[in-house]
Structure formats: structure tokens, C-alpha cells
Amino acid sequence: MTATAAPEPRTAAEPLRVAIIGNPNTGKTTLFNALTGLRQHVGNFAGVTVERFEGSFKMSDGRRVTVVDLPGSYSLSAGSPDEQIALEVLLERDKAHWAPQVVLVVVDASHLERNLFLTSQVCELGIPVVVALNQVDAAERAGISIDVPALIHELGVPVVPTVASRGEGIEPLKKALFIAAGLPAPARKFEIPTAAHDVLAPLAAQLEADGMAHSAAQLEALRLLSVTRGESHLAHVEKYGELITETQAKARESGLLPEQLEANLRFKWIRGVVERTVTRRRERAPTVSDRLDAVALHRVGGPIVFLLLMAIVFQSVFTWAAPLQDWIEGAIATLGATAGTLIPAGDAQSLVVDGVFAGVGSVVVFLPQIAFLFAFISVLEQSGYMARAAFLMDGLMRRVGLHGKSFIPMLSGYACAVPGIMATRTIEDPKDRLATIMVVPLMSCSARLPVYTLLIGAFVPALPLLPGLGLQGAMMLAMYLLGTVTALAVAALFRRTLLKGPVRPMILELPPYRRPSLRSIALAVWQRCLIFLRRAGTVILSLSIVLWALATYPKTAPDAAQPIERQQEVQLANSALGTMGHAIEPVVRPLGFDWKIGVSIVASFAAREVFVSTMGTIYGVGGEDDVALKDRMLAERSADGALAYTPLIAVALMVFYVYALMCMSTIAVTVREAGGGRTGWRWAGISFGYMLVLAYVAAWGVIVVGRAMGFAG
């Protein structure tokens, strides 16, 4: 597709290009799934991080259709980044120059009035339109019936009633897309008052001269009238800045209110359309949603329901995923071993077994957690509860400068920062989103658990504190709390410095509760898993190989007289990784760490739990033997005869791990989610850097304070 591509089909073989747009919560994505099924491709809109879902389907006569799902939009004029992208695509101004031949507007039959605002804007773009009147069943149940032929007459475009969740009306809809493609584009159905028309004429003429279709130029002129200066995402405002200001001034002179003009004109027309096409058989009565909300948003009941739901999610992400994770771990070990037998012993074998399989395996192991978490998130989102959760948490999150919607990603961070960061996508404001991405890794994830378990088990005595809570448990809890409190504090700091900006007041639609569709959930989980495996997988594979090479070269001639574990230890000590460990020893010395801990920290940059297996390798007890490792660490003495590990050092080490961003999956995902490319790397660098500084300073603080209090370390 080139920049000059005409919106008409050039050959019969070329698929029809359809863009789907609609208000959030209209079942737009369900309809997109019903049309295209699994034939979907997830990418990004050119130059932005908003996801672009593209799918395709085939008609029974072989004609093909490609469909792009545009971000959910309430209008083409509200100026959120999502809505801006939708407008750019529809006006053929986006960088990919993918121009739709037909726009499919998904409309919620129960809320026709609000939905017609967007519909009327789209109808003026100069592109053929089809309206899918979705969820007609729910509207019927609510006593709302819509005269479809009358609506077709009013809008001047094909209108097809659908129930996307049950696949009803999909075939007629597909046919309507082709019918519409052959029809002239619809036009504005209401008159702009002469006074306003005269005011707008110069701006519209300029837009038209710059290549916009006549009706689209009229729409855009009206839209630009309500634009205030200095909004960076409106790419073309700058160019027309003076003309816009002039037009606004003229409008005011003529006694018009430029900010309200578009909304007033549109809604005046819409009220007429609704009066003529919609019959309400009964007055609005309290619905099931209202009754559920009476509990879910209750001052006391609401938070209780919320905490219960979150506890279930958190618990199941941990426990249900565990057997699957064990299974994947086993399968990868078996695969690695099998692959090992096919390759002669030596570096190549070691690269495959210890580098590729062990490295990638340590990351793929998180797949079940990601799948479970996204299954839950999809259920919460589709059922409509997510909006309530954001509503409930808004007050708390606002205090640290975050958005109510930041809560779920942060909670997800307890399981794993990777899905947590991926879950920030529901946050619209880019600064809110970045601030959330920056602090999610501070939530103690499941990969820190093996480190905490090893160190607490070895160095913290099992003294009872309270009934049901021992010192060991309290220490574990303290580590989780430390991370959480810091995350909130750091978020507040980011929002006051690097990500300074007003906290957007929350305007949130609370959609009616719905039963989630299994199919949509499965699709969402499948897509998330695929993204995780593909994107993170490539980075992780290369880093795994680098780490393996650092631990393997340069080689030390093995001393056959020594036991195999001792040989491994010597090899590691002399390898590049070991050299690095020695090199950073002066740096970690103030923290009470020796070079062996230094090596383990360096090695566990890839994944925190590698700390345990590296310590295992260093002490030659094998990675999995926790008890033997504990005994070795307890007995370990430094050159001057003092104990190498004291409880104080163990606590410092744990605090270090609470803060340090030692996880390449998280870094890879941060790069991607923070904007990709250089911006992404910059944010990932900031994230890694500040957490490392925090880790170092905090661990050092623990040692200094601990020593002052008389603890050995």
C-alpha cells in the first residue's frame, strides 16, 4: 500500500479493507473476533504503542476482507491518544497509509444516543459506512426496540442488528460490508446554521485544499473549533494554529460558542433521530447491574468484595500455575538433556543445554502465570468489574499520583512483573502508564521467592512472634511490604519529577455487568502468551547465550584430582563472569558481600532465581540441593576467619533483591511497553538504574545501621 493508494478496490483479488470503530463496551472486540476468528495479527499502529489488531475472513464466494480493529473511541474529537489514532487511520493520515474502504461502526443498541455521536462523525468522513446495531438482545430485554428501517433512513447507511456474543447477524453484516463498498459515502444529515457555516468556510476550504474530502474537511473544521492550543498529540493543529484561532474568534463574534458548537449541533440532531426510531416500552427500572453495584460500590462492602476477588486471583496465579510451571521446567530439562545426548560433549553441548535450554527455560517457566493472570484480567474486564475496581482504588492511587487503573498491574507484579507491565495497557494517560511501568517491578515477584526462602531459611531463626506468625514469616512479609511501600513512594516521586503532569480527573464509564465470553478470553490469553514468547523470547535467547559464554570462557584446565564440584568452582572463578565478580568485589564489599555473592548477583541479572543455582554451583552442591547449600553457607568463612554470612548480611542481600531489577524479561517487556525503540530503552535504562541505586543504598543502609546496633556483619 502506498501513500497515494486510492480507496477503491483495484482488482477483484485484492481484499476489501474494513476498519471497525465503536465506543468502548459495545462488544466491538467480540464482533471483531466473531468476524475474523483466529485469523488475527497483533501489531502496533505505526510509531505508537497502541496495539493494532488486524484480522481477515473470506466470503463463501471467495472474496476476502481484511479488518482492522481501531481503538475504542467515544468520539473523533475528544483527543485521547487512542481516538487520535482512530482518526488518523480513518483520514488516511497514519504513517502506514492503510486506508479503509468501508468503516464498520459498532453501536450498542441500549445506548443509541451516546453511540450516535461517534457514528455521525464517522458518517461525515467521506467513506462508506455500515452500522452494526449490537447487543440488540440486551436492548430488547431492557424494553428498548429500535425501528431499523427508520434508522437506515435517518443515517443513510446500512444498519444490521447483531448479537456478536452469539454470532447472530454476522453473515448479513458481512454481506452489508460489500453492499456498502459499492454505495456512495454518506454525508452529514443535519444543517450547520448559516452563521456557523460562514465562519467555518475558510478553515474547511484550507483543509480541502490540503487534500481532505469535502465532507471530512467540514467535519474536521468543526472538530478543530473546539481545540485548545498546545495539545501535542494533535499533529496538525500547529499548522492551522492561526487559522483556528481566527475562526474561533470569529465564531465568538458571531455569538457562537466554539467549544460547544459541535456537540450541540450533533446532539440536537441525535435527539430527533432517537425520538423517531427508538421506543421504550417501560421506564428505566433498577437493573441487575444496579443491584450488583449496590454491593460492589458500597462504602464497606465494595472494598471487601474487591479484596476477596483479588485474593482469589493472586492465590490462584500462584497455586494453579505451580504444577504447570513444574511440568514446563521438567519438560525443558528433559528436552535439553535429550538435545544434549545428540551433541557430542563439549562447548556446543554446554551451549545448548546450559545456555539455550536453561536460559530460555528459566523464562518460559513464567508462561503459566502469565496465562492465568491474563485469563483473570480478561474475565474482570469483560464482566465489567474492572471499571468498578478502578473506581474503588482511584482515591488511594490518586494520592500517589497514579490512576485507579494502575492498581491491577501493581497487584499482578506480585506474581510476575512481566504480565503486570503488560496489563498497564488499560491505562489511557501515557504518563500514568509510564509511572506504573516504572514501579511494577518493585512489587516482590515470585522469582524473588526462592532467594527469600533460601536466605530466611538459613539465617533467620524460627522464633515465634505471634500465634501463627514466626520471625521467619514476619521477615518474608516485611520484604513484600518493603517493596510495596517503596513502589507507591517511587510512583509519587516520578509523578512529581520526570513524569510531572496533572492527574486527569477520572471520567469512567461503568458498563453493565456481562457474562464474559469464553472464546474472547481464550483469544486474549493466546495473544498475550504469543507476544510474550515471541518478543521476550528473542531478547532472552541472545542474553542467555552471552551469560553462558561469560561463565564458560576463558577455560581453566580441569584438575582431574579434584572432585567435579571443585572443578566447576575453579572454572567459574576464572571465567569472565568470575573475573567480573572479583572486579565488583570492592563495590559490593561495603554491603558485606564477597566476590561469590558478586558473581551470583551478576549471573542473576538474567533472572533472580538464578542466584540460588549460581550459589549452588559456586559452593559445588548442585543447584537444587537447598539444605546442603544452607549448611555450606553457614560454615563459610572469609580469609580472616570471620563468618562470611551473618543474619545481617542475609537481610542486606534480601533488601538488595527486593529492589534490584534483576530480570531480563522485565527489561525486555519494559522496552516494548514504554514505547519501543530508543524511548523504550531509555525508560528501561531509567528503571534498571534507579532500582540498582535504590538496592545498593538500601542494602548499605541495612549494614551500616545493623553494625551500629551491634549486629555482626
Binding site: 467515544y74 468520539s75 474529537s77 475528544a78 483527543g79 485521547s80 441500549s110 445506548h111 444516543e113 451516546r114 455521536f117 461517534l118 431492557a142 473546539s226 485548545t228 495539545e231 467549544e259 460547544q260 456537540a263 450541540n264 446532539f267 440536537k268 428505566r284 447491574s289 453495584d293 460500590l297 462504602r299 465494595g302 471499571a387 473506581f391 482511584d394 482515591g395 490518586r398 492527574v503 486527569r504 480527573p505 477520572m506 471520567i507 469512567l508 464509564e509 461503568l510 458498563p511 453493565p512
Partner: protein, 92 residues
């Protein structure tokens, strides 16, 4: 929009911030004076000058019904929306 009338939202002739509108009452939006960006978002959601809306609940945010759509408006937004109650509230 004379100040003393704010104190008397029961008067159908008066206008008042949406914040002070009584739960369950329908009211017509008279003016939206919050930031232009938020005002645009509100209008797109059906809260425009002339729209009929009603407050259905006051939690930490304001819950508003706009033609069957439930909206949560938080932190000061409800102060920037001026409404005129449509009828006298029934005696509670």
C-alpha cells in the same frame, strides 16, 4: 447563577453545581466549566449543555446516569458542571 441560589438546590429555578444536586433527581446541564479537554470528553459521553442527567449516587466519586449510561466523575469534575434541577425533589 447568583450565589445565594446555590444554597437552595430545592428551587427548580436555580442552577447549582452537579455536586450539590440531589441523588435521584433529573437535571439539565447548563454549563460545563472544567478544563476544555475534560469538557470535550464529557460532551462525547453525552454530558453536553442541554443534556438531561441524574445523580444516582455519591460515593468517593459522583455516580451519574446519562441516558442509561453509568458514569463515575471524580475529583472536582462534578464542581465544574452546572445543572438546573428539572423538578422539585420528592419529600424524603
Amino acid at each position: 447563577m447568583a450565589l445565594p441560589l446555590h444554597l437552595n438546590p430545592d428551587n427548580a429555578d436555580c442552577t447549582c453545581p452537579l455536586m450539590d444536586s440531589k441523588a435521584g433527581n433529573e437535571a439539565t446541564v447548563v454549563a460545563i466549566t472544567c478544563g476544555e479537554h475534560d469538557a470535550r470528553r464529557l460532551r462525547a459521553l453525552g454530558v453536553y449543555e442541554g443534556a438531561t442527567i441524574s445523580v444516582v449516587g455519591k460515593k468517593n466519586c459522583l455516580l451519574v446516569d446519562v441516558r442509561g449510561t453509568r458514569l463515575a466523575l471524580c475529583s472536582g469534575l462534578a464542581l465544574g458542571i452546572t445543572v438546573q434541577p428539572l423538578e422539585r425533589p420528592s419529600i424524603a
